[in-house]
Symmetry: C2
Subunit: 301 residues, 2 copies
């Protein structure tokens, strides 16, 4: 069978297998995590781009994917968004899968404009995957799915998010007795049912926070074909042992994000000897995370 890998989900899975590493590195630049030397001859947007390029160079051979969080660029206006676009280009040129963490969602005509911005061919911010917010319903997500289908991209829809108050709405008990996030998980599973790649996973994935391991396990059962993007590991408090339930029995089916745990490793006492080399510290932290994940839940070959 010829491997076309035209679906982003298939390319992601091939990269995870190739690196033996089900993790994604979050590129969420905060001012205080960027070495002051980078600000010496340039503004923050340019400093961020230089910082990201060095991180990407340092991890491109050991990690399958990066996930820039657009808010951290948007705060700097058009210049920041130009840095976001160039970060994506640089990461894709380095062979990394890019998940644009944009959490958009709107009425169909507007969602189509967002898809044109973020996952259509020739899009100014063209990522391989984007995160989407499903609160507005199927027609707020379907323009992304159409673009994902025709251009070999994918989406991750929010289901149960990692933040402390995610339960305010997501945990509301529905008339069937299920919490809302399970109903949303079922919908996301339906939306992706006819969009399966050659490894059996859908182009419609789900976001479920590492901080909710029990819910993750339940959702794993409800959405067997959805790849799960898992934020909240490391700095947000979850450990690798919390993650086992997010993976299927074959060790596949989830990808775990860490952001400042990697990119701000140079500020951590754990990597003190690398405090003058943020890129080397990020590489070391990315390898430690990979090994941590492999021990409990990574691909078993």
């Amino acid at each position: 069978m010829l491997t076309m890998a035209s679906y982003a989900i298939d390319r992601l899975i091939e990269k995870i297998r190739g690196t033996g590493n089900p993790s994604v590195i979050g590129l969420d630049p905060r001012t205080e995590h960027i070495p002051p030397a980078l600000f010496k001859y340039q503004g923050e947007a340019e400093a961020i781009l230089e910082f990201n390029r060095a991180i990407i160079d340092a991890v491109a051979d050991i990690a399958p994917a990066v996930k820039p969080q657009i808010a951290m660029y948007e705060r700097l206006g058009a210049a920041g968004l130009a840095a976001y676009a160039r970060t994506i280009e640089y990461a894709r040129a380095a062979g990394l899968i890019v998940v644009g963490d944009i959490k958009r969602g709107d009425v169909a005509a507007t969602a189509a404009a967002y898809a044109a911005a973020h996952i259509a061919d020739g899009a100014p911010f063209a990522a391989d995957f984007v995160t989407v917010n499903p609160y507005m319903g199927f027609d707020a997500v379907s323009p992304f799915l159409a673009a994902a289908e025709s251009n070999g991209r994918g989406v991750f829809a929010l289901v149960k998010t990692s933040n402390p108050r995610s339960g305010d709405i997501q945990d509301i008990t529905t008339a069937t007795g299920e919490p809302l996030y399970e109903r949303v998980g079922r919908l996301v599973s339906e939306w992706g049912a006819d969009r399966l790649g050659e490894f059996g996973y859908s182009s419609v994935g789900a976001v479920v926070g590492a901080t909710y391991p029990e819910q993750g396990k339940a959702l794993r059962g409800i959405m067997p074909r959805a790849f799960i993007l898992v934020p909240g590991y490391g700095a947000q408090g979850a450990a690798a042992a919390d993650l086992r339930g997010f993976f299927n029995a074959d060790g596949m089916g989830a990808i775990v994000n860490s952001s400042r745990g990697i990119t701000a490793a140079w500020l951590s006492p754990k990597y003190r000897e690398l405090r003058d080399d943020f890129a080397a510290a990020a590489r070391r932290a990315a390898m430690d995370m990979r090994d941590d994940l492999r021990a409990v839940c990574g691909p078993r070959s």
Copy 2:
């Protein structure tokens, strides 16, 4: 009593009273709605800015507010977002209240970055109000509320949206028998309870689509202090008669959006004699909408 009007919601209400017009003009530029002549010597982002400025000049004395939809600028990348920023500046300088239709929402640190982008003082895209998506819970919204509080801005949180499939999640029946949107409306009302301006309305408003008049009436009762931003009038199918239930008895409490009904009026057979003057057509359409709203639900003085 000295009128400080430091809250955006108070400034909005004063503008609505001053113009006798509870409407907001959506600036959602689509390529096909911009006269081809504007593309002659410039790219689309520049054409959009020129188009928007002419619309703003044409309506500034008769409308209280404009609502640019950021997706329609984001599709053009950093240049489009620069046009978004300059559109906001131009509209505020013309005395209009600006609602940035961004529908953001994310974990607290990320939401804080979005707030820094869109409603903090000195923000690159500083609007008076922004729309936010509440699916992630209170901590995804609270950084906007903090910025709104300290800078005299406000938010509108999605409750029941105007699109055909908004019921996929929003209409799910909860264990108490209420539909989800009513529970969300109650939460939004709680989040805004201690943020009341001098006219008794909260800095935390709600988005409820004109296409759902029965639900709008129910939500009006559930959220008496929330100003309701109402999309879906005109092109999306709702008529003024559908809107009465969104307003309180005093004729206040809601603001109705129309986008292409105003900005693409020059393409409508109704305004055929103004087809060569898009700004004049927009002004005429905005006055017709104002009169339409006044007849059924506008401020009664």
